[in-house]
């Protein structure tokens, strides 16, 4: 009885669904603002640094070099093409970690604006995800450069990369909506997520091969949505070995699930945010 009522309060009512759809239209109405916010983000980030956009390329390269020196020496990983494996992991993880932890703050840091003028608030996390996505796309340049140097062939699966970018953005946006909404109510969400992110990073096969995980701990891997994303990403850019179709279905499912969950969560609380900002 009690559980039933609890479930009812979690599931959105018809009215809330309608409201959620209307909010999507509002978001579309402000598309010019969305473009301006994304370009502002990118401009501000790179205008004042001497190397500008080069940083997007250099940052994962440096990280890869350091991690390569640490891990290849330490563990003697027997992974084939470890450089490509490592770099693809870093690039994807950077996108996910950066986009979610930056957009988590987007309601709080734009509170000045949100308190003074009507806007569809989701536009703030969305624009952060979008600019992180642009960076993600640019950081594919060093990846392919390394491929060129090491003689790795990306293969024909690469045509699915744009789809993958959309899936990754959708997934991150769902997480971001949930985090940024929670952040308004509980300011320690930030610290909790930081710790969570650290643990998450180590349970995702970014710099170690999947094979080092003992069989009875494999379930941790399978519970981790990012594992599927990363596997698909690597399949697309260089490994070509996993079951592509199944992976695309799983990742699409995860993205849609994350987005719709986050969107409904945000819509349920969006009118109350203003009182806590």
């Amino acid at each position: 009885m009690n559980g039933c009522a609890g479930l009812k309060s979690i599931l959105p009512s018809g009215k809330q669904m309608g409201e959620s759809v209307r909010e999507l239209k509002e978001l579309a109405r402000y598309q010019d603002l969305f473009k301006n916010l994304v370009s502002r983000d990118l401009k501000v980030r790179y205008r004042r640094s001497v190397l500008g956009f080069l940083w997007v390329i250099l940052n994962p390269l440096f990280m890869m070099i350091i991690l390569y020196m640490v891990f290849s020496g330490l563990f003697h990983f027997t992974t084939e093409n470890y450089v490509a494996y490592l770099l693809s992991g870093i690039i994807f993880w950077n996108f996910y970690a950066q986009s979610t932890s930056t957009s988590m703050l987007s309601f709080v840091s734009n509170s000045d604006l949100i308190r003074k003028i009507y806007l569809p608030k989701a536009i703030f996390p969305l624009s952060v995800i979008a600019s992180a996505l642009v960076n993600f796309a640019f950081s594919l340049i060093p990846l392919f450069a390394v491929f060129l140097l090491t003689g790795t062939h990306p293969g024909s699966y690469v045509v699915f990369l744009p789809l993958f970018l959309i899936q990754a953005a959708l997934f991150s946006f769902g997480v971001a909506l949930m985090l940024s909404t929670l952040m308004v109510f509980f300011r320690d969400t930030q610290y909790i997520y930081e710790v969570l992110l650290l643990g998450w990073m180590y349970t995702t096969p970014i710099f170690y091969p999947e094979s080092i995980i003992p069989h009875h701990f494999k379930f941790i891997l399978y519970l981790n949505p990012l594992y599927y994303f990363l596997t698909l990403f690597r399949t697309l850019v260089f490994t070509h070995d996993a079951a592509l179709a199944a992976n695309i279905v799983i990742v699409t499912g995860l993205s849609v699930l994350s987005f719709s969950g986050g969107w409904l969560f945000y819509n349920r609380y969006k009118d109350r945010l203003i009182f806590h900002l």
Partner: protein, 414 residues
């Protein structure tokens, strides 16, 4: 005709955040201690109904925390009412405070695009307004410099220039007129006047009642989230001024002994004082002429002016005299008789000064007992305006708060 703005029983409830847990950690600690989070509800707005049609210029007044800003936010769509309904037909442009929505790393032009799109303009619309915005802001070549090199005045100029170019149906002005240098302030005021003249509706929140009186035709007085009064801007500002002990007259400071009496005179519309260089003064030490006293009395007694002033009762008060109506009205109800010259002509001597005994004599004709109770000693000295106010205050029991708080909302359309 469709109303521009329609609020029906709007209430907004806040949960006092000082009481509510701010972090998950607090929530868990409370749960472990078996304490349930205690919320204190606070109604920032309670049953506010309001309807404005085109051409309305509404000033919202009230002390801090009376719900002014909450009301503006409800109208702007930032806050959804907890109860009731708010309907707005038209585009709203808030003159947002300095710098909100600006990015300091971007140049002036880039900020125009950013801020314009925040206000809901498309890129095309901004393109077409860019020249006007640049010209009005007067920033010249600085428009291509990043905002962090601007002074606060320059930022205010830019913000104002964008907001006024939005061509909104409703312009929300929240205490923004005090920005920039005097030259730009003047330009802003002229621009706002121009926008208002063009038929834009104005919602104005200010502590400057003079601005409300100047810019608005309607005023809404809020207190503790409820509507105290809604109606003519001038009348409401007057009552508000006195009620909240603001300085009505520049020469009557808080500690002036006759302040209460003089404010009461003002609030009841018995005197307006004089306007000197934009300041309102009372001149409490000046003497009172008989004509002036006649005006005071006719106002406090709410006497009706005679329809025709020609052939008035006194030979020395022509029909064009500024106090002719009041003097005739006092004569008609038998309060003043004047002096006869023995040839059938009566004289009022309107420019003679009044002595306390003269006033006492007139008041005794209204209510002798009350006079004895309120003015036991009558001197023969010339009355000052301040002393007159004191006598009126006591004799006519001019209270400072009658019918104010708890008054009905008239809810009429502006």
């Amino acid at each position: 005709m469709e109303e521009l703005l329609e609020l029906t029983n709007v209430s907004v409830k806040y949960r006092l955040t000082a009481e509510a847990p701010k972090t998950l950690q607090e929530v868990i600690v409370r749960r472990l201690k078996g304490k349930k989070a205690q919320f204190k509800d606070f109604w920032a707005l309670r049953n506010v109904s309001l309807s404005l049609s085109k051409g309305a210029k509404l000033g919202i007044i009230g002390v801090n925390g009376s719900g002014k800003s909450t009301l503006l936010k409800v109208i702007a769509g930032i806050i959804k009412p907890t109860e009731g309904e708010a309907r707005v037909n038209g585009i709203i442009a808030p003159l947002i405070e300095l710098g909100a929505g600006f990015d300091f790393e971007l140049t002036g032009t880039e900020n125009v695009y950013l801020n314009g799109s925040i206000l809901g303009l498309s890129r095309k619309q901004i393109d077409s307004k860019m020249d006007n915005i640049l010209e009005f802001s007067g920033l010249g070549p600085f428009i291509h410099a990043p905002l962090r090199s601007y002074s606060s005045g320059m930022i205010a100029r830019l913000a104002f220039s964008i907001a006024v170019e939005v061509n909104a149906d409703i312009l929300i002005v929240d205490e923004v007129l005090s920005v920039g240098d005097e030259g730009f302030r003047k330009k802003c005021r002229e621009k706002i006047d121009e926008i208002i003249a063009a038929g834009t509706n104005l919602l104005f929140v200010s502590h400057s009642l003079a601005d409300v009186q100047r810019l608005c035709n309607t005023a809404l007085w809020l207190d503790k989230g409820r509507v105290v009064e809604f109606g003519d801007a001038d009348r409401i500002c007057r009552r508000y001024l006195v009620y909240f002990d603001e300085t009505v007259f520049a020469d009557i400071p808080q500690e002036h002994p006759s302040r209460e009496a003089i404010d009461a005179m003002f609030m009841h519309g018995v005197t307006n004082g004089y306007e000197v260089n934009g300041r309102r003064v009372f001149n409490p030490d000046n003497s009172v002429s008989r004509a002036e006293l006649a005006v005071f009395l006719s106002r406090v007694l709410k006497l009706e002016m005679p329809h025709s002033l020609t052939g008035g009762p006194f030979k020395d008060v022509s029909s064009s005299h500024w106090a002719a109506g009041s003097i005739a009205a006092l004569h008609d109800c038998g309060l003043v008789a004047g002096t006869s010259d023995g040839e059938g002509n009566r004289f009022f001597f309107p420019h003679d000064y009044v002595r306390a005994s003269d006033l006492a004599e007139i008041l005794s004709r209204i209510d002798e007992e009350k006079l004895r109770a309120t003015l036991p000693v009558v001197s023969d000295e010339l009355l000052t305006r301040g002393a007159t106010a004191e006598i009126f205050y006591r004799f006519f029991s001019l209270s400072n708060d009658q019918n104010i708080v708890g008054g009905e909302c008239h809810g009429a359309s502006a």
